[in-house]
Symmetry: C5
Subunit: 343 residues, 5 copies
């Protein structure tokens, strides 16, 4: 469902009211504070009351579990984040976007996983001077990998940290494209051989999933274009080159998803024409059988009539004559179909 | 109907003539004046002769019932509104737009409700210095909620008041999208199982309604983009952030309606291919039955002929031989169909 | 026909040669001169030799009947109009456009009427300082109404006069949209109930007419956008607001025609799927009848054979047994079809 | 063929190598030099060695036959034309374009003729100070007409001369549109009445030709837009108005070709739905005949059985009774079909 | 496959890690250094340790075989190339693009070959002051031709060298278009005559290949547009004219591929309508045979009944009368079909 049923909760409520819209995906909301500079790195699980606001290096605040409305609100207050931003962070049906608030930049992006069908999570990032806050619905390997690299010494500013996370998210999209591509290959095989009514349903599902994916990835390009091109005080000029690289990946993902959509469309056409072909085969068989047997069955009918005066019936070889006539008729029909290429 | 029949009334009439085009949706035109500042709030029902033009705070003039042409005209005069604006307010088939008249901003927007099919009303807003005038066709809960919040103390300038109303309207669109989404889910189920000729008609209706909705929501984005981006003397710079938030919702609504349109299109294709599949099933049955019985019926015809000299008829086990032959023929056909995967 | 056959006349002829391309729609070319200022108004039918070039007020020169090539040429010379403009005025297959010649503005627009199908006329307007020249193929009520209002005192500059004419033309488009909308409603009813092969032809005609209409109305938006937005010495700044209003109507017309085009496209799909449905119904009937009767007819064939030794034929209740068997077979088939939902 | 087979000649060859790609359409390459000023005009056939480079008036160098590679090369050298331009002049599969080389402007445009299907030629123009060079594949009436007018005294600068040629080419496109329009009318008639499998092939051919035409005319608009809008030293400011006029024609041609493409698309849909209708008619006939006769043939089968004990066979009026029953069954079927509107 | 399976290697790996993604297409990675000036040229195979970084003329470093990750990395270091560039060079699923790094320009482009289906290789170019580095997956004739011309004396700056290579690549695309065009011609013939279910599959393959090709050629236009239009210190102003020429070819290639895509789409429609036509033919045959024989077979059934009292059976010419009736019925049917144009 693209529109969550809980959206009703937001109607007739004052603007910027923090409401959690979505599904609880982890048991408890966890706040992890990673503080580091060129020499040291410290990873702590913290309570909302003891948030590290100032530090001599970089602070990365990583919140896992968006149902903790109170926690998110307190973080918003501690880092002077606008209530409209906090509202968006808590609404997991928020669209992908970047908003520039001068003192900080707010990014919403989607993370896709493929277990039982396509699963979507929301990841929000707030980049402030020397601070990066990430809000997410659950744990991901690729963010753990980022953390491990930070611990191992691969450090940079908060902007570079944001880049490595966005790069990891965009890389994970390639895996999703691979899944789609394999689904399409499977459907292609099915349509070329033993397709059924269900194949048509699967094709419809595929198109829907591709459209859902598309809706999430198109705006990623604009988010990254902003970071790559716009001269922002929070993004080091030397780092823009890195955002340009992720931007390039995002375009590649969009192009490929377009290609897959075109392929899915072409598969629908192939399916329909194979269906028509199959109907033709069915009708050919019926027509061949009917066209051969209907005339000769008529002949048997003629000589099955009970008229008193039917001279042929009395002929000695009448029966064999009729059998011969019927064979000739049937053979002529067969030759006709052979010439047409039907048999 | 997208073009109202009453549109004929406007032809060959001087420009800017105030004519009501639409349906009367409330009994009487009511003018409600809400005047407030940080300390006080006063809600009065007023007559067109006693309109509050000056006040020490904010004036919200709320007109319910657009068939009261005289009332609307008098309000136009009292607040120096251009006759072309008054004409648009009274024409409920006016398209969605924002017009900047320097001293005031004029906005037309649509309100959708879903009772018996999709219902559309028109809501016009005029934002002047410390004055907001709203013209609407009937009462809505979500505007009552705005009023309650104003009374409860949630006050701001006339621009913030306009924002809260536009935000409530745009939020109400999400409910409409939910309705569409549920219709599509229902149709999807139908098409996957027990679809009929009516399913096709419902799909057509759905597409029409989605198109009507689309026509009203696309320009909303431009209206809000103007308010969010353009530096206007009537909109406080700090409030532009709020209009940007509604603008973001409007884009989300457009994206989702696009997604639903694509889904509806894919459903049409699914419907057509399932229809073809069903025809294939029908024809398969006919072909199987015909192909099995036509040849053996021909055999019965042969031995139903009345030739005097037909040796087989005289054989003791002729009847059983023929029964066996027919069974073999039928069985071979069945095996053939089994191999083809038809039975 | 979108390309008139007379277009051949223009090939291999020097540029700017005045040639009339079109059909003669009135008997004689009439030139009407309306001169007015705030106090007086004078309406005269004039000869090409006595054209009022200077006046103390506004001159509206109204030419009816474009086949009068000589008349049009003389007017061009009298008011210093470029020969390329005169050429366009006389070519009724000219596309809709606005051309700015600094000293005057040249506008070509189409007028649609609906008698026997969609009829198109061409209306050209030249706006000079205090002069408006209108060239048209025949008389229209809505221009008479403009004249009556001028006589009755509703006067303004030549630019305001042009506005009232363009406004009247654009308003007349709404009537055409109503006609299209009613055609579509009619076709919708037909497709939902008793459609035939002709319905398909009507749908094709409708699409063609909608495309012809579209070709004429899209550029109207650009014409009006120029007049509404561009600061031109011939258009009073206060009057630009009026052109903006007509521009708004033009957009509404384009949006609605797009909506109708989408509807027509959806109707084609509905028609095709109803056609398929109908084929399914036909084939179901054939299959039901065949599937029930072919097997039992085979049984009658078996007992119609003339073998000497067929024990069943001798049984006392053989006939009744076979009748029972046949009834059971037929009933089982019926139950099968019932379960499939076919009967 | 859109890509000529000779294109292979250009692969692995140094850039700007002059190679003729195309078909020889005249026997010999002819170079015609027309020199003129306000008083005199001189038309000479010249050899490549005696090209008139300087003159007291305008020089129009007209080359007919592009297979004369050496001639074209020499002209390039004599007038200091860039080798890349000469390469393009000789490649008749060059796309339509304008290139500004400051000292001269290079234009490539296509000429269409309709004898046996759509024929395309290439026409290149180089406009220098007081010089116009035209390269073309064969002779055309409309360029002869231009020459006659120059001789008759209708003279202007080299830019005006280029305008009159481009105007003549664009006018010739209208004739092509007329041909397309007539093809479509013919196909429409065919589809409405006696269409066959060939109709479908013709429709495909038409679409292909329309696409080929489209590919050549879209860039013409941009070529003319450059000449009409851009302030170039080689184009007299007063003449830009003439290029604007041809530009207007080009847009008209594009709009009309779009309209024809939409029509062709709608014809395909009409064709498919008429094909479906026809199948319905065929199947209706089969179903009516089958549904009427299959049940009553079953009845004849029943009384054709040879059971010893079949009381009805002994009844006096058994035969008449059965005939009556069969008539009633057949009649009921007919009434059923009548009610369905099938007969 | 558009997304290579090896893409997984890049997930959870630090940005700018050099990983080879692709297939090994030559045995060993070869580095060829061509150093030349107006007088001399030297071609050497070099080791990564002895790269010619400075020279008195132009250095062209040509690397064949991208699986040599270490070699590529060392080249990157020797010429101060950003690690992100080296990463892209090694990833053969990189999209086509140009990136400007001020001191150098990085271009990725695709090379297509047609042996067993469409094969794609990646070619990367880095243009520095007096240096051109080309990375490619295997050897191509057209690059050898460039080298031969350099040796033969056709020398210029590094920018001109890059131009000749890009020109050769774009020229090679024309050959691919020719292949596509021939495939389409073949399919067209097939569809017009003896199409089968496989034809539909071939059409699908063709569309997929065209889409893959399209994805690679569209961005080429932007790459060349940058080089043709943007004033870059590495591109000599006089050479921009050459890039404009290749840009022109790229547009021609895009236009033609669009044309071929439209043709492929039209072929699908043609295929579907021919399939429908064929079904009509099949059903016509069945209907003709059935409609002629079913009624007369019924008549034989009537006179095959065994009623004791059937006067016709006793008539002398009963049999002949019935034969005559049956012939008349069959003839009437034939005449009916003749009139319908079915036989
Ligand atoms: Mg990439
Ligand atoms: Mg793309
Ligand atoms: Mg793409
Ligand atoms: Mg695409
Ligand atoms: Mg797309
Ligand atoms: Mg595509
Ligand atoms: Mg389609
Ligand atoms: Mg949103
Ligand atoms: Mg969108
Ligand atoms: Mg979208
Ligand atoms: Mg869309
Ligand atoms: Mg979309
Ligand atoms: Mg879409
Ligand atoms: Mg409007
Ligand atoms: Mg619209
Ligand atoms: Mg629109
Ligand atoms: Mg639309
Ligand atoms: Mg459209
Ligand atoms: Mg649309
Ligand atoms: Mg025109
Ligand atoms: Mg158009
Ligand atoms: Mg167009
Ligand atoms: Mg189009
Ligand atoms: Mg169109
Ligand atoms: Mg279609
Ligand atoms: Mg080219
Ligand atoms: Mg094109
Ligand atoms: Mg194109
Ligand atoms: Mg296209
Ligand atoms: Mg195209
Ligand atoms: Mg196209």
């Amino acid at each position: 469902m693209v529109i969550p049923n809980e959206i009703g909760k937001k109607i007739a409520v004052p603007p910027a009211t923090p409401i959690f819209i979505g599904k609880k995906k982890v048991d408890e909301t966890v706040v992890r504070a990673i503080t580091y500079n060129a020499e040291n790195v410290e990873v702590l699980e913290v309570k909302p009351e003891e948030l590290p606001v100032h530090s001599k290096g970089i602070i990365w605040l990583d919140i896992i579990g968006l149902h903790g409305v109170e926690v998110v609100k307190k973080i918003g207050e501690a880092y002077s984040i606008h209530p409209l931003v906090i509202e968006d962070v808590l609404n997991t049906s928020q669209r992908v976007k970047l908003e520039d608030y001068e003192d900080y930049v707010f990014v919403v992006i989607k993370v896709f996983t493929f277990d039982n069908g396509l699963e979507v999570d929301q990841l929000s990032l707030i980049l402030k001077e020397d601070v990066l806050i990430t809000f997410r619905e659950r744990d991901y390997d690729f963010i753990d990998a980022v953390l491990k690299r930070v611990i191992a010494g691969g450090r940079g500013g908060a902007d570079y940290l944001m880049y490595t996370i966005l790069d990891a998210v965009v890389d994970s999209y390639f895996k999703i494209l691979l899944e789609f591509s394999e689904s399409i290959d499977g459907l292609e095989d099915e349509i070329f051989s033993r397709f059924t009514m269900e194949t048509s349903g699967k094709l419809h599902e595929l198109k829907r999933e591709l459209n859902r994916f598309k809706m999430a990835i198109y705006p990623v390009r604009d988010v990254l274009s902003f970071l790559a091109r716009y001269d922002h005080k929070l993004v080091d000029a030397d780092n823009r080159i890195y955002f340009r690289d992720v931007h390039d990946h995002a375009i590649r993902i969009i192009e490929t998803s377009e290609y897959l959509r075109d392929l899915a469309m072409s598969l629908r056409e192939l399916y329909l024409s194979n269906l028509s072909n199959r109907l033709n085969e069915i009708m050919k068989l019926l027509t061949i059988i009917s066209t051969i047997f209907i005339p000769i069955t008529f002949i048997t009918g003629v000589y099955g009539m009970n008229f008193r005066y039917m001279p042929e019936l009395e002929w000695k070889y009448g029966y064999y004559a009729v059998l011969t006539v019927m064979s000739v008729v049937a053979l002529m029909m067969l030759i006709y179909f052979k010439k047409k290429g039907w048999v």
